[in-house]
């Protein structure tokens, strides 16, 4: 086929492009994924019994705020990485800020604590299961976000896969907050982040094969 003929083929009946903007698609994907993660959490785990009291504690909201802003940052990253030629600009900063913030709070907590309490603040009671459960809850969001990304055009598939994974991991961590009894900043700063980084790593590995177009 001559290039001229291909162009005629593509242009004939091409019509107007009426597809919802990428941001809208991602919000829908995250919404469905979060619903799936919540369902998983209710089925496999349960809501922490003292949730009503926990809601009154500032630390609970520090925890939610950390993972929610990580989710927001990675949503922007996913959006930019889905469009050819879009610059990342301030997105890495938006991702680094919540991490540095929680690390600062964690460091302050550890410095202030009695030496004997430090390991309890870091390991809590659930460090073994926390990252794996967050990774497990991230599966529905991961699938929905990756599916959306496949319809767009990531030109840096590894990085795009990483962003998709981080988005799903941090949304899953928000849901996990409803179950998790841990309230120590050092615990959150390490194990929650690790939990969100597991799907991010998987995304980076899968990116090259799954996100090609």
């Amino acid at each position: 086929m001559k290039t001229e003929d291909l162009i005629t083929l593509l242009a004939t009946g091409a019509g107007a492009v009426a597809q919802p903007p990428a941001a809208q698609r991602y919000v829908v994907a995250v919404g469905w994924g979060a619903a799936g993660a919540t369902l998983l959490m209710l089925l496999l785990l349960q809501v922490r019994q003292d949730l009503g009291q926990a809601l009154l504690l500032p630390m609970f909201w520090v925890k939610v705020g950390f993972v929610a802003s990580l989710a927001a940052g990675s949503l922007f990253a996913a959006l930019r990485l889905s469009r050819p030629g879009a610059e990342l600009n301030w997105v890495p900063v938006a991702l680094a800020l919540p991490v540095l913030g929680i690390w600062a709070i964690a460091a302050f907590t550890l410095i202030e604590a009695e030496p004997i309490e430090r390991s309890k603040l870091f390991y809590g009671d659930t460090w073994k299961s926390c990252p794996l459960l967050i990774a497990l809850l991230s599966v529905p969001v991961f699938a929905a976000v990756l599916r959306t990304m496949q319809d767009l055009a990531p030109t840096r598939p590894r990085l795009a896969g990483f962003a998709a994974g981080l988005l799903s991991g941090s949304v899953a961590a928000v849901v996990y907050c409803l179950h998790c009894p841990e309230m120590g900043a050092p615990f959150i700063a390490f194990w929650y982040l690790l939990g969100a980084l597991i799907p991010a790593g998987v995304g980076a590995l899968l990116g090259n094969s799954v996100l090609r177009w």
Binding site: M1, K2, T3, E4, L6, I7, T8, L9, L10, A11, T12, G13, A14, G15, A16, V17, Q19, A22, S82, R83, P84, G85, A86, E87, L152, A153, T155, R212, W213
Partner: protein, 190 residues
């Protein structure tokens, strides 16, 4: 002075092509066809400089990139420079080609600059080696017939729906998926 001229030329072309694409995205097929035609000349020059050792691949890759631009045109945001969008797609397809060729050639791209794509053009199209008609013929009917009727024979979606007994939305989806399947086939075989 030369630099200023070059920049002015680039601006003019960026604005012109962007205007054509935006009109095309709004449903003006004639503007869209002009856009693709002018873009193909820029792509050819851009790829020729990078495929010095693989001259036979140039026209195939021009076609593959045009198909990608078409399939992904919904990702273009008119707030974004068109050159950046198109150049990222062209580079992605180029890297993909090198990867398929098992890394025999490395992407050697010292001329990386944003203005490059639109400041050069080459309308001397060689024959593509790959025959898209053959690939098209291999698609399953529900993808092939919508493309054949609406794109090659120029029927409207409604006429194509009547002729095939498919619904109008199945025709539209068939065209969209069919062109994506075509792009996937190209990646798979070369």
């Amino acid at each position: 002075m030369q630099r200023i001229n070059r920049e002015a030329g680039f601006r003019a072309r960026e604005d012109r092509l962007k205007d054509l694409l935006v009109r095309g995205l709004a449903g003006d097929n004639a503007a869209y066809q002009v856009f693709l035609t002018e873009l193909s000349a820029h792509l050819r020059a851009f790829l020729r400089r990078r495929l010095v050792s693989l001259p036979d691949e140039i026209e195939d890759l021009v076609q593959e990139t045009l198909l990608a631009v078409h399939n992904q045109r919904h990702t273009y945001d008119s707030a974004q420079p068109l050159s950046a969008w198109v150049q990222a797609i062209a580079r992605y397809k180029l890297v993909d080609l090198f990867r398929r060729r098992a890394g025999h050639e490395m992407l050697n791209d010292p001329l990386e600059e944003d203005m490059e794509l639109f400041t050069t053009a080459d309308s001397d199209a060689a024959e593509a080696r790959r025959d898209l008609n053959k690939l098209l013929a291999d698609l399953p009917d529900q993808l092939r017939l919508p493309i054949m009727h609406t794109k090659l024979e120029g029927l409207s979606v409604r006429e194509a729906a009547e002729m095939t007994g498919m619904s109008e939305s199945a025709i539209k989806v068939g065209v969209h998926r069919g062109l994506k399947a075509l792009a996937a086939k190209i990646r798979g075989i070369t």
